[in-house]
Amino acid sequence: MAGIAAWGAYAPRLRLSRKAVTDANAWVAPNLKAKGKGERSMANWDEDALTMAVEAARDALGPDDDRSHIAALYFASTTAPFADRLNAGIVAGALILEKAIAASDVTGSQRCGLTALGQALAAGGTSLVVVGEHRKARAASTQELDFGDGAAAFVVSDDPGAAELLGRGSVTADFVDHFRGDDGGFDYYWEERWIRDEGVVKLVPQAIRNALEVAGLSAADIDYFCFPSTFSGMAATVARAVGIRPEAVRDNLAAVMGEAGCAHGPIMLAHALEDAKAGELILAAQFGQGAEALVFRATGAGQRPARGVTGSLAAREEEANYLKFLTFNGLIEWDKGMRAEKDNKTALTTLYRNEDMILGLVGGRCRETGVVQFPRTRISVAPNNPAVDTQEPYRFAERRASILSYSADYLTFSMAPPNHYGMVVFEGGGRIMMDITDVAPGDVETGLPVRMVFRIKEVDEKRGFVRYFWKAAPDRAVGQIAQAAE
């Protein structure tokens, strides 16, 4: 039976204080004051559903996996950056998956993350399922407080791995609790009582019962029930309706990260996998024009992620600046200055010609001298040994690195000034002058250990194109490492 071989997760480091939001909006939305507790995950300006999914996938795969065993890729999101450009193709490029993989974007509903996972498990073979979500909500709305940003990823294989799939149940009904049209705007919600009583309570149990029936299990057998909902007590109500023990109901992480849309069922599943012992049963379900339910048995085997949900939640920094959140999410028309008028049109020919360099951070290694460099060039950079056509592709993304020189630049346009960038030197050779992200003034110094992260480089607002590249972020898990210098 197919199963989950490995999993990973990602929540952006910033956690927006809900109190900061409700305090700022108290004049217009005093009714939200009671919701001003805890925090929600908040993507940096250069993170979106896709970049977070890449981070989760790297967590699932680990740094040493050459990824050639992945035969199919599913990218699930309702907030993918492109409506017509294979988003999974960008993910594949960033992860340097084989060209001969099948790849698809799965979208359209809050349950699409679990749907993608179910499809991958049903299809057989080894595949990678990545789910990311970065939902926008209007200022002073309930959703703004309820939502969070995050991602999860699963490596699925024909072996049981870490968790064996026992059953899958789906229910499909055009129950429109909310919708978002193709105008790229905001969700439009119907009344909460109707959604709860007529939607969740009636549709989700059907999917759960279907999955349990396939698995040949009774609801009381379930040890971990993962069901995201922003309605308080909703998971307990559903559990009661189907006969799942109350103590099996998992924390939906509302207090510490908010609900990451279609990624949230997968995130809760990943979180349960981190706690489950061999033989324990996990049921993950998510609502959305019906529901999707998946039942697994943990094996105690498989590959545990370096970060996972637990690690992601621990790696946090409070953000109390609500205006920054609004700015990062494009909800404020702010004065970017004339320097921001630079045209960010992307030459698509150049992008494709340098695909592995730009999306995969692939450079070159000289077959003769072993000298490593970025970018890969026909003539080697090695001093006094300009060998010609000796370069083999060399991957930088998973290499440890440190800062050689840097500046915090207040002059150039940045969505999060000052713009930090500097020369990054890699263990094993090579260096790249690159942006440094997830830092505040005072965080960076020569010798700072950094890791590579796949991020938004620029947004071409004129044409709706998002440009991605890699940046350096402090490797907060690593101590000072010796800098490579002359």
Binding site: G337, M338, R339, E341, K342, D343, N344, T346, A347, T349, T350, L351, N354, M357, I358, V371, Q373, F374, P375, T377, V381, A382, P383, I403, L404, S405, Y406, S407, A408, D409, Y410, L411, T412, F413, S414, P418, N419, Y421, G422, M423, V425, F426, G429, G430, R431, M433, M434, D435, P441, E445, T446, G447, K457, E458, R467, F469, Q483, A484, A485, E486
Partner: protein
Amino acid sequence: MPQGIRDKVAILGMGCSKFGERWDAGPDDLMVEAYLEAMQDAGVEPTQLDAAWFSTHIDEIGSGKGGTPLSIALRLPNIAVTRVENFCASGSEAFRGAVYAVAAGAADIALAVGVEKLKDTGYGGLPVANPGTLNPQVMPNGSAPGNFAQLASAYRAKHGVSKDDLKRAIAHVSVKSHANGAKNPKAHLRKPITTEQALNAPMIAEPLGLFDCCGVSDGAAAAIVTTPEIARALGKKNLTMVKALQLSVSNGYESQYNGWDGSHFHTARIAAGKAYREAGVERPREQISMMEVHDCFSITELVTMEDLFISPEGQGWRDVLDGFYDADGGVPCQIDGGLKCFGHPIGASGLRMLYEMYLQLQGRAGERQLANPVLGMTHNLGGAPASNVCSVAIIGQEGA
């Protein structure tokens, strides 16, 4: 090593416009201003010019591409005009072209003009630009100060200099240049500043504050060169001779190979070494009378003192604080105010540096005149520390 340029070419005349925020002048006006002064100084007619080199960096907001902007502005007699561009070292390239043409015998008298009209962007600082289609997809969205500021972090780390010590040293670089610029009627910035002002100025790119950055200026400068024989035939005495012209260009070593430590200019050391050999200078700290270096930022000037082998490595910051580069120091540097205060109209700057060295050697520097200068060096840099072009020129008295 080739024979070199030493003593083959003489400067016949030079000119320089007033630098600054020249709201009154377009690039044509600036070129004419510098050109007329140079022509008057040289004492020649346009028909005596055989060829011209024209340097300007940013063609989008300046004079445009090609040789025509110069030819039309100056109404040159349909002679060859070659436009050259090499980042902020473009002015030195125009000079090099003209000097080489004379040395080759291809021209008897050649003209070099550099110009930049920067103050038509609507904002402070240099104009933002997209360098090609690949770089914007991978390079940081940086600025000149952000790129040069990185020297400071690497210099501190390499030499164990504290943030405070280095900040005080670069503050003195600017205090010295402001004191010099105050005496130069053509300079953009003419107010002396205090160390406290430099230390407490708004941050531009850590650790560079406002006073660590050079002026962004409009301006033009021009040189007319010929052979020493023709110069003498035209009645010139006390000739200012070209002693060395060197250019070293990064090949990716600094930016792509793990060798360079980020604290200095790899190219500057190569160009300076070659220039000293070409000019026959063996002890630069004693032999170089004065310098105009590319002080786009205070930290650039500080590390350049070491790259030009004037200060020992790691000791430049001490020499700066000791006043060695002040107007009354061992090797006066930026005696005209430098890029810092004379200003930095990109395509003109290399020629502007030579203009001050020429005036000093001719004994015509007025209030700024140094006693008996023999050799003057210019250092004109383009690009950023990790990838750049570095031009070093030495001019001097006949027989020096």
